[in-house]
């Protein structure tokens, strides 16, 4: 896979990637400020989540 990507496997032994679910949520729902996701304001969850 590394060779196919043009990376020398003798130099680099692997690839690691991580993609935050928070960022994905931003893209999906057009959240403009990531802080809204973590602040815990129930109005945010009510707008995007499902009310209990």
């Amino acid at each position: 896979m590394l060779t196919a990507c043009g990376i020398d496997p003798e130099v680099y032994s692997g690839v690691a990637f991580g993609f935050g679910i928070d960022r994905m949520l931003m893209f999906r729902h057009n959240v403009t400020d990531l802080r809204d996701v973590f602040e815990g304001d129930v109005r945010f969850a009510s707008a995007f989540g499902t009310e209990i």
């Binding site: 991580g18 679910i21 969850a45 009510s46 499902t50």
Partner: protein, 314 residues
């Protein structure tokens, strides 16, 4: 009680003397005036106008009078009772009015005040989104790995080639558990889970076991580690190797909810994940919502608020 007086002719009966009747009447009127509320007035009515009141007892004594005296005594008592009853009625009306006026003030409700009835909240979009992902990836043949909250320092850092002086190990970025010798941290990322997943012999084969194929659920907030199919110590060449082709499809039509052509905004849904299950109390879908959700199963909607546990029923 006195019957008709035929045997003797008393000239007068004490309770029926004019001054005595007036005294009873005045006492009653004073008590009525003094009654401060409806309860007190009720007691006054019993005491001064009831069956056992002095004026009522006096009325019964009329029969003991000689016939010629009865008429006068009867009229006297009748006037007194009339006055008492009239006063009772008037005082009662006044007190009733006061009572109602006071109730209007004391029991009034300001409908413009903020209510204390609040919704219990909503499932966080991160939660619903991560569960959605945990449906999509297994449908493509990937695993969703779960890991412990508390992880050994070695697995969290050393095994990932993070040096002893790596800044992520500092107190600012990592929660350390006491005692420090235990070398335990609250897992700071998902990579240790990935390592553990790969280290388990045959882990990649687990999902091929027969049985329900709904994915494991988790409420974690961090990134989902991408675990490609057939990755592991015993690498197998299954039909899933290579990058996913095209759109995700579930292994089993019944196991994973299909998306439908007209997805509704999640805010409309009173429930999340229309996956049939058994066990917990189930949420009934309000009839008025049914029209909006033609693809939703009416019965057996999942209402577990936290992590799903137990066997799926479908």
């Amino acid at each position: 009680m006195s019957g008709p007086n035929t045997d003797y002719d008393p000239v007068e009966v004490t309770p029926l003397k004019a001054e005595e009747v007036e005294r009873m009447r005045d006492e009653a009127l004073a008590a009525i005036t003094g009654a401060a509320d409806l309860d007190e007035l009720k007691q006054v009515r019993l005491d001064h106008a009831g069956d056992r009141s002095p004026i009522a007892l006096a009325n019964r004594e009329i029969g003991a009078l000689p016939p010629q005296a009865r008429k006068e005594a009867g009229a006297r008592v009748g006037r007194a009772r009339g006055a008492i009853n009239k006063a009772l009625g008037e005082r009662g009306a006044v007190l009733e009015e006061e009572h109602e006026a006071r109730m209007l003030v004391e029991e009034s409700v300001d409908v413009t005040l903020p209510t204390d009835r609040r919704s219990r909240g909503a499932r966080h979009p991160i939660t619903t989104f991560s569960e959605r992902l945990a449906d999509i990836f297994p449908a493509m043949g990937w695993d969703v790995a779960e890991g412990p909250w508390v992880e050994a320092e070695w697995l969290n850092f050393d095994a990932l080639n993070m040096g002893a002086d790596h800044p992520a190990r500092t107190m600012q970025d990592t929660f350390w558990l006491e005692p420090a010798e235990a070398a335990l941290v609250l897992r700071t990322h998902t990579s240790p889970v990935q390592g553990a997943h790969d280290a388990v012999a045959g882990a990649a084969d687990l999902r091929r076991l027969p049985g329900p194929r709904l994915p494991h659920r988790r409420g974690r907030r961090d990134a989902l580690a991408g675990l490609p199919p057939d990755r592991g110590p015993r690498r197998r060449q299954g039909h899933h190797h290579g990058p996913p082709q095209g759109h995700a499809r579930p292994h089993d039509d019944g196991a994973v909810r299909r998306g439908h052509h007209d997805p509704l905004p999640s805010v409309l849904l009173p429930v999340h994940r229309a996956v049939r299950r058994d066990g917990h109390g189930l949420l009934r879908l309000p009839r008025r919502r049914l029209g909006q959700l033609p693809h939703l199963s009416r019965r057996g909607l999942d209402r577990a608020r936290r992590l799903r546990r137990g066997q799926p029923a479908c």
